[in-house]
Each structure stands twice: as structure tokens, then as C-alpha cells.
């Protein structure tokens, strides 16, 4: 294998010093001067109601209040994949806490006071808080206009129902597969909603200046997509794409919550009504919980048939998603799961129905894992139960069924090269799978759990990335990209890719979060596609710059291009060992010829990447025929869990997780994703739970009542393992790993509980209380 100088090295993060010194500025840290206005949002206290009237007269009398805006000011719908959403509620509210209006004032206090004085008259409507109720015959229609909403061509809304999208897979003949089975297991698994809990709140500041320029500073995963959606939604007010500029400072955690557009559009819209002033909209911790995207809940009905040897003959997976009040983004979670809920298995006969269902709960949306955590909970639980029934080892049954390179996915495309088998072997070895656990304490039960995972980026087939690479006089580089560094280290690996190709050290490459006016297009930083997608754009830009360098040196020094190479910031030549031309001596000012003229000029590289083989054109009844997913990243995880059988309290002693990164461009950053993802996964299965009351109001929107782990709650030991089976179209073979690391954790824990106690828990979260009740039930 070729030896790399920067690729595969645990290079220090390019934004590391900013972050450990306290210098890193996040959106709310920016200063906007004494003319800054503050907006306070008015929320609806009903999960479903008609808005009869809004009286803003008292609010406008509050000193220092400049304006009050309502839905009437912005009757424009928006949405990423389906335009079912409005900036402020129009004729009705559809979830408890939905924004109705906003009061804009000189101080936050005046804005709050004004917000309390906005009077809204409602007529409550029947509300639906459960997806199964929502699809019952005669259920109240939450979006009577559904059939008129614009949406991407791969969605199939059902008019005059609450089903916003139905992704259907039909592969082979499932009925026949079940007939051939020696054993069929059918059961239902339930996963509730979760909150991202990024520590930084959503924040957005917008200014519509007197020249007609709309600038938005936002804590964002999607600067260009936000620009696109702002321009689309505000087009009736005369806004065009090049009028909108989105500037993205550091982001204090995203996990999906800051993808697409949520509250940022409120700032953008309000700014249009107070031209000339910057306006700040800040969420607080409570709103982070109830008025940003939430992870969708799901009721998953799963049926798998197997032969005696464990080979799967058929799979049927019906998933009923609680997608919430607006599904402009959530419907694509449902779609992604429909395509992949077969799991990392080679199944000839499969039937999958994934339903995106409106409810009167907050909008569902992207969350690290994009639906895969949810369906894997059932699927990987099911695999263990089938193995137990057949008397086959849980890892062995998986080995017999895993998908291999070239096998057909659920939608009929070929599986990419992958290291799933290696991941299984490495995890099994590290967790000592074949050694039986023995507890010396009669009050402590021990169990081992195992789970596989796979995930594909869920993105439109034409999602693209681009890069400008600019040299400076000293041969340092400004690398302009528009992915977001959410902490995963994206900017650092982009610098490593350019460094490797151009022989310029990463310490001389400056790459920062984007400004859509300066940096070229990127779709969004989601889907764990950015290392792969934007990495390809950077690779191409670096190669473009290198080609320019070689061409210039060739025509001025009369050396053949194919003899030139870059090393230590110099151009060298394979046939003239003494030749070395430092980049800094010509990279901006060119090369001087004997006659005194200069050739060349500033070297600027350009790179664009789009996966041109991807397509969503398929038969809607079967999903066969397209190539909707570019590739899958796979892996395996296992844990040792101890359970106090008196209290049900659980402690994870050890977790091992192997992920096939294709090529770990920066191993310390890949390991950071594994370790962080494991704890986020453990948190969703052991600690977190959103509790809504009968009104659809979230009861625990704070860190006192909605628990996420502290340093005292971490596993005793974590062993991150990197597998590297190159992705053929990845930069240096890399593919994404960011989301994947958390998705096997819930079934892994459920399987460990079953191993320890012989009880199977089919609903998340798996709290100590639930385990304890199961122990008591079993004792009777």
C-alpha cells in the first residue's frame, strides 16, 4: 500500500486551538452593535386548533416594541423535501408550542413582555398523538391540503389521509419465502421520540439591509440549503438567491437538529419587516426540546422466516412512523428506512412498508442515524431471538446471512465492497464472545449483547459538493468548502486531503466554516456523506491545482509533466534529481523567463463532486430499478452489561465497536466518533425519554427531567476498532462513519439484557424500572 504523509495520520484538528483556548465564536457570541433587535416568539397552547384571530394591539403598545409579525405577513410555505410548513402558523396550529407570531423589540425583556400580550383566539380540534390512531378510518385530517403540497418525486403522499409518504419495497416473493420457512417469528417493537440535546441552542441573526441584501448568521449544518430555502420561501417578497447570504460560525453540536431549516427562517422573515436592523432569534433549552426537529418515534412490526440452519427465507417489515405535525424533512427519514430496513442481510424475499404519518406532536426530523437506530432495535433483537429458538449462536446466524459485496440490496442495486465480516470477527474476538460470563455476586447478572449495523447516506441523487483551493504567496492555502465542522473534524480531514496531494502541511492550510457568498456550494452536512462527498471535491480541487503547477513548470522549465511530482512544498522531477522549485517562489507571482517576462499567475484549484450514478427512478410499487443510495457503511458492536437484579440498575462494563471507515483519514477523529456515538446510543436506550401529556405538551423539556449521561455514566471500557475496506469512489477510499457509531447500541443492550436475565424488552428506552418489573414478572 502507498505510504501517505498526511492521510491516515491523527493530525491535530485545524480548529482545535480555537476550541481549547475559548477563542471559538458561536452564533450567540457574535456582536451586532447597538441597533440589534430581539424577537420573542408567541406559541400556541394547543396541539391542534383553528386560529380564529390574533390581536397584537396591546403588544404594540409596549415601549421599545417595534413590530409584531404573524402568519398573515408570510403566507409562504417551505420545506426541504415537501413544502408542508409555514414560517408562522396560518389558519391552524398543529403541535403544542408551535410559533404563531413574534414580537420584535429593542430589548429581550420588551419582546417577552409584548409576546405575553398577544391575544390569540382558538377553536380546539381533535388531536392525534399516536401514529396508529392517525391512520384509523375517519381520523381527523391534519393536513387537508396534503395532495397539493409540492414534494420531491420519490415521495408518495396518500391524498385525504394522514400518510404523507409510503415507501414500499417488494423484492422476490415474501409470501413464498415464508411458506418455505421452518420457523417464523413475528413481533412488534416500539421506539419513542428523542431529542438531539446539542449543548448550544439554535440561534439565528438576520439583517435585511437597505440595499436589499439579506444576511443570516445561524448555527447551522446546512448553510447553502438554508440560503436556498430562504430564497424560495421569501421569493414573493422579491428575494433572489444572490440576495441571500448565510454565514455559519462554529456550531455547538448538531446531530441533525441544525440540518435543513427550522427556526432560522423566523429570523430571516422577521428581518424583512424591520429593514435595516439586525434581528436575533434565540431558542432556549425548552424550545430546543419542543420546537426543533425531534427524532421520530416508530411502531415496527417485523416478521422474519428462516430455515433450520438460520438462513433467512423472507422478511416483512412494516414501520409506522410518528413523524409529527410537519414532515418536510421527516418524510425522508421514513424513505431512507424503507429502502434499508432489510438490514445488512442478503434476503431474497422482502416486503417493506414504511409509512410517514402526521401526528399533533412536534415535527420529526433528522437525528444522527436517520431512522436506522430505530429499525435496527427491532431487527437486531429479532435476529437474537431467532438464533435462540434455533439453538444457533447469535453471531453465527448473522454470519450466515450477511450481505456481501455484489449481493442485491432491497431495491436491487449491488452492495459495495465492505468489511462486515472483518468487523464481526474483530468484535467477537475483543469481547471474547465464546467465553461464558460468570457473576460472583448473586445480586448481579451479567450478559453479552451483539449487534450489526449498516447505514447509507440518505440524500437526493444530485446532492453535490464543491471546493475552491487558493494558494497564498508563502504557499499556504485557503481551502474554501461549505461543509460544516460540527465537531467531527471535517475541516481537518479536508486539509489532510489537500495536504497529501499538494505536499503542503496541514498547519499551512486554513479551512473554516463557510459564508455562502465566498465558499462554493455544498448540499448539507448530514448523512455522514461529507468526508466522502466534499472530500472528493477537495481531492479534485487539489489535483486541479497540481495540474496547473505541473503545466506551468513544464512549459517554463521544459520538463515533461509526467516526470514532475510534489514533495515538501517543492516541485521535483524524477529525471533531474537536483531540480527543486519551491511553490512559494512561483505560486502567486509566476515564473520568470530569460527574457524577463513572467508566466503563470495565482494558482486556484476547483473541484466538484456529484455521484452521477445515483438515481431515485424506480417502480413505486416495488422500489426496484433505481440506485437511491450511494453506498453503505457497515460494522458491528458488542457489550458486556451488568444488571443489579434487585433494582434493575444497569452498568455497561465494556463496549467494543468496529466500523468500516473505508480508509480512516484521521484515526483519532474516527475513534472520537465511535466513542461519542456509543455513549449517545447508550443514552437513548438507558436514560432518555420524552414524556408528553394528554394535551401533547412535552413534560420534561430540560436536563433536570430529561437525562443525558455525565462523565460518571460512561462504560467501564470502550474499545474502538477501525476496519478499512476501501470505498472505490471515496477520497483515498474513505466513507462516512459519523452517524453509524450510535445505531447498533440499543439492540446490543437489549440483547445483553436477554442474555443476562432471559427477558426480552421490546420497547425503548430500557430503564432500570422496566428491567426490574420484568425481573419481578419472571420471578412469579
Amino acid at each position: 500500500m502507498k505510504a501517505y504523509k498526511y492521510i491516515g495520520q491523527s493530525v491535530v484538528k485545524v480548529d482545535g486551538k480555537e476550541k481549547v483556548s475559548g477563542a471559538a465564536l458561536y452564533t450567540d457570541d457574535l456582536e451586532f452593535g447597538p441597533d440589534l433587535l430581539y424577537a420573542e416568539v408567541v406559541e400556541g397552547p394547543h396541539a391542534h386548533a383553528i386560529i380564529n384571530s390574533i390581536d397584537t394591539s396591546e403588544a404594540l403598545k409596549v415601549p421599545e416594541v417595534l413590530a409584531v409579525v404573524t402568519g398573515k405577513d408570510f403566507p409562504f410555505n417551505f420545506g426541504l423535501y415537501m413544502k408542508d410548513r409555514f414560517i408562522f402558523a396560518q389558519d391552524r396550529v398543529r403541535f403544542y408550542g408551535e410559533q404563531i407570531a413574534a414580537v420584535v423589540a429593542r430589548t429581550p425583556q420588551a419582546a417577552k413582555k409584548g409576546a405575553q400580550l398577544v391575544k390569540v383566539n382558538y377553536t380546539p380540534l381533535p388531536k392525534i398523538l399516536n401514529p396508529l390512531d392517525s391512520i384509523k378510518e375517519g381520523a381527523e385530517l391534519l393536513h387537508p391540503e396534503l395532495k397539493n403540497y409540492e414534494h420531491v418525486p420519490w415521495f408518495f403522499p396518500k391524498a385525504d389521509t394522514n400518510i404523507a409518504h409510503h415507501r414500499k419495497i417488494r423484492k422476490g416473493d415474501a409470501d413464498k419465502g415464508f411458506e418455505e420457512a421452518d420457523y417464523v417469528l413475528e413481533d412488534t417493537y416500539e421506539v419513542p421520540r428523542y431529542s438531539h440535546c446539542a449543548i448550544e441552542f439554535h440561534a439565528a441573526v438576520a439583517k435585511y439591509d437597505h440595499s436589499g441584501r439579506l444576511t443570516v448568521w445561524a448555527s447551522s449544518q446546512s448553510p447553502h440549503t438554508q440560503r436556498n430555502l430562504f430564497a424560495q420561501a421569501l421569493a414573493p417578497l422579491g428575494i433572489r438567491h444572490n440576495d441571500v447570504r448565510v454565514i455559519a460560525p462554529h456550531v455547538g453540536g448538531g446531530f441533525g437538529s441544525k440540518a435543513g431549516v427550522t427556526m432560522e427562517i423566523i429570523a430571516a422573515a422577521i428581518a424583512m419587516k424591520v429593514q435595516g436592523h439586525p434581528v436575533k432569534v434565540m431558542w432556549n433549552r425548552e424550545r430546543e426540546f419542543y420546537n426543533t426537529y425531534q427524532r421520530l418515534g416508530v411502531v415496527a412490526k417485523l416478521k422474519i422466516g428462516v430455515k433450520k440452519d438460520g438462513k433467512i427465507t423472507a422478511l416483512k417489515h412494516d414501520l409506522f412512523w410518528d413523524a409529527g405535525a410537519y414532515v418536510e424533512y421527516a418524510a425522508n427519514v421514513v424513505n431512507a428506512v424503507g429502502l434499508s430496513a432489510i438490514g445488512p442481510y442478503n434476503v431474497e424475499n422482502a416486503s417493506i412498508d414504511s409509512y410517514c404519518i402526521y401526528t399533533n406532536l412536534p415535527p420529526g426530523g433528522p437525528y444522527r442515524g436517520f431512522g436506522y437506530s430505530e429499525f435496527l432495535f427491532g431487527l437486531e433483537s429479532h435476529m437474537n431471538r431467532i438464533a435462540a429458538h434455533l439453538g444457533i449462536d447469535p453471531i453465527e446466524i448473522r454470519r450466515r446471512n450477511i450481505i456481501k459485496e455484489g449481493d442485491l440490496t432491497a431495491y436491487g442495486a449491488h452492495m459495495n465492497p465492505n468489511g462486515l465480516l472483518q468487523a464481526i470477527d474483530k468484535v467477537a474476538e475483543e469481547i471474547k464472545w465464546n467465553e461464558k460470563l460468570k457473576s460472583n455476586d448473586p445480586d448481579i447478572a451479567l450478559g453479552k449483547g451483539f449487534s450489526l449495523f449498516w447505514k447509507a447516506p440518505a440524500m437526493p441523487p444530485n446532492a453535490s459538493s464543491s471546493c475552491f483551493l487558493k494558494f497564498n504567496e508563502d504557499a499556504s492555502i485557503n481551502l474554501l468548502v461549505s461543509g460544516m465542522d460540527l465537531g467531527q473534524g471535517f475541516l481537518t480531514v479536508m486539509a489532510q486531503i489537500a495536504a497529501e496531494i499538494l505536499s503542503v502541511p496541514t498547519s499551512k492550510i486554513r479551512t473554516e466554516n463557510p459564508d455562502t457568498d465566498r465558499n462554493p456550494y455544498e448540499w448539507q452536512t448530514v448523512a455522514s456523506h461529507i468526508t466522502w462527498g466534499c472530500g472528493n471535491a477537495v481531492r479534485k480541487a487539489a489535483i486541479d491545482a497540481r495540474d496547473q503547477i505541473f503545466s506551468l513548470v513544464s512549459r517554463t522549465k521544459y520538463l515533461p509533466v509526467d516526470t514532475l511530482y510534489l514533495e515538501d512544498e517543492k516541485v521535483k522531477c524524477t529525471t533531474h534529481p537536483k531540480f527543486a522549485l519551491a511553490l512559494k517562489d512561483f505560486i502567486i507571482n509566476g515564473i520568470q523567463m530569460e527574457d524577463g517576462t513572467f508566466k503563470g499567475g495565482p494558482v486556484i484549484g476547483r473541484g466538484v463532486f456529484m455521484p452521477e450514478y445515483s438515481s431515485t427512478n424506480a417502480n413505486p410499487e416495488t422500489s426496484q430499478g433505481g440506485h437511491p443510495n450511494v453506498h453503505y457503511t457497515v460494522g458491528a458492536a458488542a457489550a458486556i452489561l451488568e444488571i443489579d437484579i434487585q433494582t434493575g440498575k444497569m452498568k455497561v462494563q465494556k463496549v467494543v465497536e468496529a466500523v468500516d471507515a473505508g480508509k480512516a483519514l484521521n484515526p483519532s477523529l474516527v475513534k472520537g466518533q465511535i466513542v461519542g456515538g456509543i455513549l449517545q446510543g447508550i443514552s437513548t436506550v438507558l436514560y432518555e425519554e420524552m414524556k408528553f401529556d394528554h394535551r401533547g405538551k412535552l413534560l420534561n423539556p430540560n436536563f433536570t427531567d430529561y437525562k443525558i449521561p455525565t462523565a460518571l455514566d460512561i462504560p467501564g471500557e470502550i474499545v474502538p476498532i477501525i476496519v478499512e475496506v476501501p470505498q472505490p469512489d471515496g477520497p483515498f477510499g474513505a466513507r462516512g462513519v459519523g452517524e453509524h457509531t450510535m445505531i447498533p447500541i440499543a439492540p446490543m443492550i437489549a440483547n445483553a439484557i436477554d442474555d443476562a436475565l432471559g427477558v426480552r424488552i421490546k420497547t425503548m428506552p430500557i430503564t432500570a424500572e422496566k428491567v426490574c418489573l420484568e425481573i419481578l414478572k419472571k420471578g412469579k
Binding site: V12, G16, G22, I199, F201, G487, F703, T704
Partner: protein, 152 residues
């Protein structure tokens, strides 16, 4: 409004504050000190951690009026003389991800190793338990502190 004075990162500062202004808001909005962050406004997350007379406190739970005559120090104070060995250890090991919890986490860890130069793993976990982080899983932070403070 009451006039108060306190030492902020080594410099005596004077200002008028309302009795209900939190130290966090005053530091961020009126003194331009941005490393303390707001992550909950409720004392749960520790992102707003600062040092009050050398001890870590949650600046969202303290009124500015209370620090009259006292000494406040933030991460800016540590960073102004170059990175501390602890900051360097965190930097070199790529410990932090989004970095939003880092100022608070670094102050809690600094307080720990100032008072206890060779803490046990459990002592480190206890010292960090008031600083929530959603990205790192804490393990890299703990490992970096352990390695920095281990006895030779």
C-alpha cells in the same frame, strides 16, 4: 442599578448592574467575555462555568451583584499566557468535538488538577460530572487528564 466592582481576569472592572442580571449575561453581553456559554440557563449543563475566587461556579446561577468585591476568572484568563499543559493535552489528543462545552470542562478540570495533581479516574469523573457534553462520550477528556497527571 447598583454599582459594583470585581476583578475580571486580573483587571478591576466597575459597572452598574440590575439586581436580576446574572453573572453569565453580564460577562457575555456587557463585558465581551464570550468563553462562558449558555446551554440550559438552569445550572444543569456547566457550559457557563467560571471561577469565583478560584472555585468553579455556574455563572447562570449567580447574580452579578453577588460578585461585588470578588475575583472572577474565565478561560480567557488561562489562555492569555499561551495554552496551559492541560489545554495542550486536550489539543494534541483531539479531545473536543464541537467545543461548546470545552471552556467549562477545562475550568472544572483545571480546578481539579490544581487541588489534586494526581487524581484517580473516579475523581476525574466526579470533577467533570457537572459539565455535560453530547459529542465526546467524555472518555477522551478523562484519558487525556489521566495521562497528563499520572505519577512518573
Amino acid at each position: 442599578m447598583k454599582k459594583i466592582s470585581f476583578k475580571l481576569n486580573g483587571e478591576t472592572r466597575f459597572l452598574h448592574v440590575e439586581p436580576n442580571e446574572t453573572l453569565l449575561d453580564v460577562l457575555r453581553d456587557r463585558m465581551g467575555v464570550k468563553s462562558p456559554k449558555c446551554g440550559c440557563d438552569n445550572g444543569d449543563c456547566g457550559a457557563c462555568t467560571v471561577m469565583l475566587d478560584g472555585k468553579t461556579v455556574r455563572s447562570c446561577l449567580i447574580f452579578a451583584i453577588e460578585v461585588d468585591g470578588h475575583e472572577i476568572s474565565t478561560l480567557e484568563n488561562i489562555s492569555k499566557n499561551g495554552l496551559s499543559p492541560l489545554q495542550k493535552a486536550f489539543l494534541e489528543k483531539n479531545v473536543f468535538q464541537c467545543g461548546y462545552c470545552a471552556p467549562g470542562m477545562i475550568l472544572s478540570a483545571t480546578e481539579l488538577i490544581t487541588n489534586n495533581p494526581h487524581p484517580s479516574e473516579h475523581e476525574i469523573k466526579e470533577a467533570l460530572a457537572g459539565n455535560l457534553c453530547r459529542c465526546t462520550g467524555y472518555t477522551p477528556v478523562i484519558e487525556a487528564i489521566l495521562e497528563l497527571t499520572k505519577k512518573d
